[in-house]
Amino acid sequence: MNQVLIVGGGPAGLTAAKTLVDRGTEVVLVERKESLGGMARELTCKGLVECRNCGVCFAMDRAGEILREPNAEVLLLSEVASATKADHGYSVKIKTAPRYITDDCIGCGKCVAVCPVEGKAIFPPTGSGQPRLHWIDKSKCLHFKKGKCDKCASVCPTHAVDFEDRAKNITRNVNAVVYATGIDPIDACEMSRLGCGILKDVVSSVDAERILNEKGRLMRPSDGKAPKKIAVMQCVGSRTVKVGVEYCSKFCCKYATKMSQLLLDTDPDINLDFYFMDLRTLYEPQDEFKLWAKSKKTVKLIRSMPSVVLPGKDGKLLLRAAGETDLDITETEYDLIILSVGMRPSGASAELAKSLGIQTDKSGFAVANHELESKGVFVCGAVSEPMDIEETAVRAAATVSKMHHQKEVGT
């Protein structure tokens, strides 16, 4: 009986899990959050009529498949407490936090509506995350704090709220570990000069994606109006010594260009300015985005990094930037500014990673090497280097294929 532990339920973890399950290996998938999908949960599909190969649906479809898979044990709201070397692999202890909601949940959202807590204590699954079950944050919920409120339970049409749910400690013996904890987006507010956190209508690309994924339209956070003039700004947080991220996050150009195209699909009379250093669109030998931009009168590509965003007249935003070749400063008004943030590896230097002997490079990414793999630890996905979903999927499959080999040699 060979079982494999997969840490992280994002695109990498899911692809790895699916690949393993397809070849008859049993997997235990541990996800910190309440639903599968990782970053992909909150990313929007970038196509309206035509697919733009953002790969989001690929990840989410895998999530659905894994949940249906009898050979895959999915543990949500769970963390790997410890992994100790045992013969033929590792003995792992997993802590699973209670969800307080049973599978009977139908996602109607009545509970969220009635929850009296400021900022809510019961939440729907994030974005398009799977499974579609709500969950309760114990630390906020009045039922646990004051021990009386049960508004959600009383309103739930399927009696899916179960305050008796308890935390579990699970132990599994696995002969390999796939470490795919993925990434954290950089907080755009680290670049305060760009107005994030100060000006309402300056949003990070992550927020933009989330809103698009929920509503399909972008609105100005300040007044909820549809923006007519938008600026998209690349390399926010990436390629900047200041934030300490010197590398290029690779996928920002891809998602930002595709998102811009989506924005114009949904509302053709949006004026969109695209500020960038180098246009590093992935998989576009013909520079489709440049061609597309050329074909649209309403789109401008500007090779310049804006210096500062200031409040402008009647709720507009004022963006100051130098010209492309000459250095004269121009100020332009916008309704909405999207900051394309980069990424940092997530949990590459966590306790678990250390105990598994995973080292990090100078940029903080987990380093995969043969020595590790011979010990049955496989690092895959964006935690090992910046990559987009499609590449992640490819690499995850590749990594897992190595493991296959290991087993034949090993046990």
């Binding site: 190969n53 139908i106 049409p157 290029c248 030998p285 440049k290 990414f365 499609e390």
Partner: protein, 525 residues
């Protein structure tokens, strides 16, 4: 038409939240003709209930069933298995998604929801009566061969991985280079023709002068980039210009390049389209860094339109710059030119600085990866789609990143799109694994809901053959279209387009579809 129908209502899915009137639904089911058994269960996904259903089914010897539950994908596997145990064909079971189509989205309008549910039940019954049993067949794969076209980085990686899952790999290499990879290696070999379908291909391979037939279960296309087909004014002007990979090999073999070295992204910088071949950046940077480290005195220029130093190679970019490599960005207007009369100097306008530079060079290197010419022949042979710029087109990402639309044919590396060695290797491994797993099955599952031709109606107009993405239809001995069942994926594209209505899709016949629609429109809600 006689039928003995069992209707199963799943409480979990259809009753919660208390919206529908189950009694009424049950009553309706009982009263409809040919329904011999109606059951209400707590949850069809629950083992015990399944057992009950099957028991009842056996007892009342029903021959088809309508199940009102939730999303097909979630319940069908176990449910169908259970019914198979009761000896009922899986295609005689009609699943109705009450949960997501009625209960959840209409929670506020019970009456309408009820009416809709009843109509859906009626529609399902109409459809159930029209359903016909279908058998899935399987065919043994004649060989365990995985043929890999191209023995570059990707090809070799694919061979290694495929071999691990027990496939016999056959590597086709155009040149005569010797390699250390598992399986057979055919040098001077090209794929020139193919027939068959995923699992059982018959390939025509031109090895040297003679053409030989070879059976294959799966094919991996790893033709890589068309390094040899560098076209453009610069390439024309400078005869001894080399592509990056050659330059790299020379460097590895310790050859000292004639300096200064100029690396240009593409030999056709001022090309009509805005074509910037996705220049293998990581490789370029790796090369210049090594070069600079070996010969610090050597002048090295990198001339490009778009610096695509993805991800961590951004750091290499910095390093290279620190080592004194000169990076020059140009745009169309100031694109690099070489005077054919004295091909030792290159003029380019540095876009960011605005100055025009005259660079004397000893070696000119092109880093662009044009699409491989062979792709066309291969795509023609295997009948798979290509992109406008001559590389193989990947199929829908719904299937998998390294697959073509045709099952059993995988593609990786620069054949898909120009890439760096490292990524090409990863893709090769992925494709190899998938091919290996595909072969490991040893069987081709086919049949079921597939297309079928009524020869009397067929006008042999070839429309279906031109439309099908899988090459399933063909003109048979009777000069009428026939369907190669093993290749048919059951999408029904040929059915929808046949001008003589000679093709129909099992399980989704015109009558079944239109009757269901009619019944649904009959209801008032």
């Amino acid at each position: 038409m006689k039928a003995r129908i069992q209707v199963v209502l799943c409480k979990c899915c259809t009753e919660m939240p208390k919206l529908l009137n189950m009694e009424k639904l049950q009553k309706l089911a009982e009263d409809s003709s040919m329904v011999v058994s109606v059951m209400t269960v707590d949850a069809v996904c629950d083992g015990k209930d399944l057992a009950r259903i099957v028991g009842e089914a056996k007892e009342r010897e029903i021959d088809r069933a309508v199940v009102l539950a939730c999303h097909k994908k979630d319940i069908s596997p176990n449910l169908l298995k259970a019914y198979r145990r009761a000896g009922i064909n899986e295609f005689l079971i009609e699943l109705v998604n009450m949960r997501e189509e009625v209960v959840l989205p209409h929670a506020d309008e019970p009456e309408r929801a009820q009416a809709k549910a009843e109509t859906k039940l009626k529609a399902a019954l109409t459809r159930a009566i029209m359903l016909a049993p279908l058998e899935k067949q399987s065919e043994e794969m004649k060989t365990k061969n995985v043929v890999i076209v191209g023995a570059g980085v990707a090809g070799q990686a694919a061979a290694h991985e495929a071999a691990k899952s027990g496939a016999h790999t056959v590597l086709l290499e155009k040149t005569s280079k010797s390699l250390k990879v598992p399986g057979v290696i055919m040098t001077h070999a090209q794929l020139v023709g193919a027939s068959g379908y995923g699992g059982n291909f018959q390939l025509k391979i031109k090895a040297g002068e003679k053409v030989e037939e070879l059976g294959a279960a799966a094919v991996v296309i790893a033709t890589g980039g068309g390094w040899t087909t560098l076209k453009g004014p610069l390439a024309k002007a400078v005869k001894d210009a080399v592509p990056l990979y050659k330059f790299y090999e020379h460097m590895q073999s310790g050859m000292v390049p004639k300096g200064p070295v100029v690396i240009v992204d593409t030999p056709d910088p001022a090309g009509k389209t805005m074509k910037v071949q996705d220049y293998a950046w990581d490789d370029t940077l790796e090369t210049v860094i090594q070069l600079k480290k070996k010969h610090p005195e050597l002048l090295v220029y990198v001339i490009f339109q778009e610096m695509r130093a993805f991800g961590l190679s951004e750091l290499a970019y910095k390093e290279a710059a620190d080592l004194g490599v000169r990076f020059i960005r140009y745009d169309k207007a100031g694109a690099p030119k070489i005077d054919a009369k004295n091909p030792i100097a290159l003029t380019v306008k540095d876009f960011s600085q605005g100055e025009v530079l005259d660079l004397k060079f000893g070696t000119l290197v092109f880093a662009s990866i044009p699409a491989n010419q062979d792709n066309q022949m291969i795509a023609d042979a295997l009948r798979i789609p290509m992109t406008v710029d001559g590389s193989i087109r990947r199929g829908s990402i719904q299937r998998w990143p390294v697959t073509t639309p045709k099952p059993g044919i995988f593609v990786c590396g620069s054949a898909l799109f120009p890439k760096s060695r490292e990524l090409a290797k990863a893709e090769g491994e992925a494709a190899g694994t998938m091919a290996g797993q595909f072969v490991k099955r040893g069987m081709i599952e086919y049949g079921g809901s597939v297309a079928q031709v009524t020869p009397e109606k067929c006008s042999a107009c070839l429309t279906c053959i031109r439309t099908c993405p899988y090459e399933a239809p063909f003109i048979g001995a009777a000069n009428k279209a026939e369907i190669k069942v093993q290749a048919c994926q059951g999408c029904g594209m040929c059915v929808g387009i046949c001008p003589s209505k000679a093709i129909d899709l099992h399980h989704y016949t015109d009558d079944q579809v239109m009757e269901e629609a009619r019944t649904l429109l009959g209801g008032d809600f």
